[in-house]
């Protein structure tokens, strides 16, 4: 039994990823992987520098993490070229995620704080 198939057998005719696209994307995946690793080193380096206050350090670390997250979701998970149906699902996720974070910040801004050890 052969381990190889004609590529078209796996990449169906109606598939969104054409064979030529996949070949081109392989290089992109490797470049993104290297960028993610460089981003990790940058995160550690930035954490060792005092930017003036802990809040600035937190903001910079989360900014780098967000860029890395975008690279993973956008390119590895192909979200930048995904079908409209997926975006429709994720719009609700983003809405509820933001609402969740907003509720957290709102509850902190409106008292009822208990100090936790």
């Amino acid at each position: 039994m052969s381990d190889t198939h004609q590529p078209s057998a796996a990449a169906g005719a109606a598939d969104e990823h054409s064979l030529e696209d996949v070949r081109k994307h392989v290089r992109t995946y490797i470049i993104i992987g290297i960028a993610l690793m460089a981003g990790t080193l940058l995160t550690v380096w930035a954490s060792l520098i005092d930017f003036g206050s802990r809040e600035y350090n937190i903001a910079i670390a989360l900014l780098i993490a967000s860029v890395k997250g975008f690279l993973v979701v956008g390119f590895f998970m192909h979200l930048i070229s995904e079908k409209k149906m997926i975006y429709s699902v994720l719009v609700f996720t983003v809405f509820f995620f933001i609402a969740l974070m907003f509720l957290t910040l709102w509850s902190m801004a409106h008292g009822s704080i208990i100090h936790i050890r």
């Binding site: 057998a9 796996a10 064979l19 994307h25 490797i30 954490s47 993973v72």
Partner: protein, 257 residues
């Protein structure tokens, strides 16, 4: 009866069933981890001054684990691309590396957990506090630590401690008022640390089992229905990338800030 759109995409959505299913599942996972992240923010912001620990975890181990997971994400997407190009052997090679990365990640995580479970904060009856790693030659009568004495509990909050470089402390058990290791019960930080990383580790284990099952026992499906097999690899890969994504945020939040 054959289930429609199990392999071929639905004409109106352009998606096969499992792909829509995994994205719906990942949407629910975003909310699960989102709830835990919001809990972390709430706990951290409300912590009294000087009570939230910094740099209790080994940054270099955390960074190594981040790079291991990124490497595994690259090999997952390359394994899928290999199947798209009809190269099963290359897929097996890349996904084999993914599984090794998963094992490496869990191995490092286990080492970190073990370190925390061997780390003790000991309050003596005379008011002193000893902090260090329990040594193997401890007995029922004497606790042997490699660590230090501190005057106040808050002195323990800053900085990573390399107890292996510190002196041995021998404490008779009858002089100990209370002692507790750095498990999830130790304080709010260790509770949220173990909850977040434990849940994430369960996802790594679950993802690795699925990838292994497709890679090994299910490999015959490639020869019978390569498109179905490729779809399975894509769906498991989407889950794996999500696991990587969560860690990308966990690493700075827990290890660096």
């Amino acid at each position: 009866m054959e289930i429609p759109y199990a392999v071929k995409p639905r004409p109106d959505t352009g998606l096969y069933n499992a792909k829509l299913g995994i994205w719906l599942f990942l949407a629910s996972e975003v909310m699960l981890f989102g709830a835990l992240f919001s809990s972390y923010i709430l706990l951290r912001v409300n912590a009294e001054e000087g009570t939230w620990p910094h740099h209790w975890l080994n940054i270099w181990l955390g960074m190594t684990n981040t790079i291991v997971l990124i490497l595994s994400s690259v090999t997952v997407v390359l394994s899928w691309a290999s199947l798209k190009m009809g190269n099963f052997k290359r897929y097996k090679f890349y996904q084999g590396i993914t599984l090794l990365c998963a094992l490496a990640f869990l191995g490092i995580k286990s080492f970190e957990y073990h370190d925390k479970f061997m780390h003790y904060e000991v309050h003596l009856k005379d008011g002193r506090i000893a902090d260090g790693h329990k040594q193997a030659d401890s007995t029922d009568k004497i606790l042997v630590l490699r660590g230090r004495y501190v005057a106040d509990h808050k002195d323990l909050m800053e900085g990573e401690v390399h107890h292996e470089e510190e002196p041995r402390i021998e404490i008779p058990m009858d002089q100990i008022a209370t002692m507790e290791n750095y498990g999830p019960w130790h304080n709010t930080y260790t509770a949220i640390y173990f909850t977040l990383t434990g849940l994430h580790a369960l996802h790594v284990i679950g993802g690795a089992i699925v990838i292994f099952f497709i890679w090994g026992p299910l490999a015959k499906v490639w020869h019978e229905d390569p498109e179905r097999y490729t779809n399975r690899v894509e769906v498991s890969g989407l889950f794996w990338h999500f696991v990587d994504l969560v860690w990308i945020f966990l690493f700075p939040v827990l290890y660096l800030l």
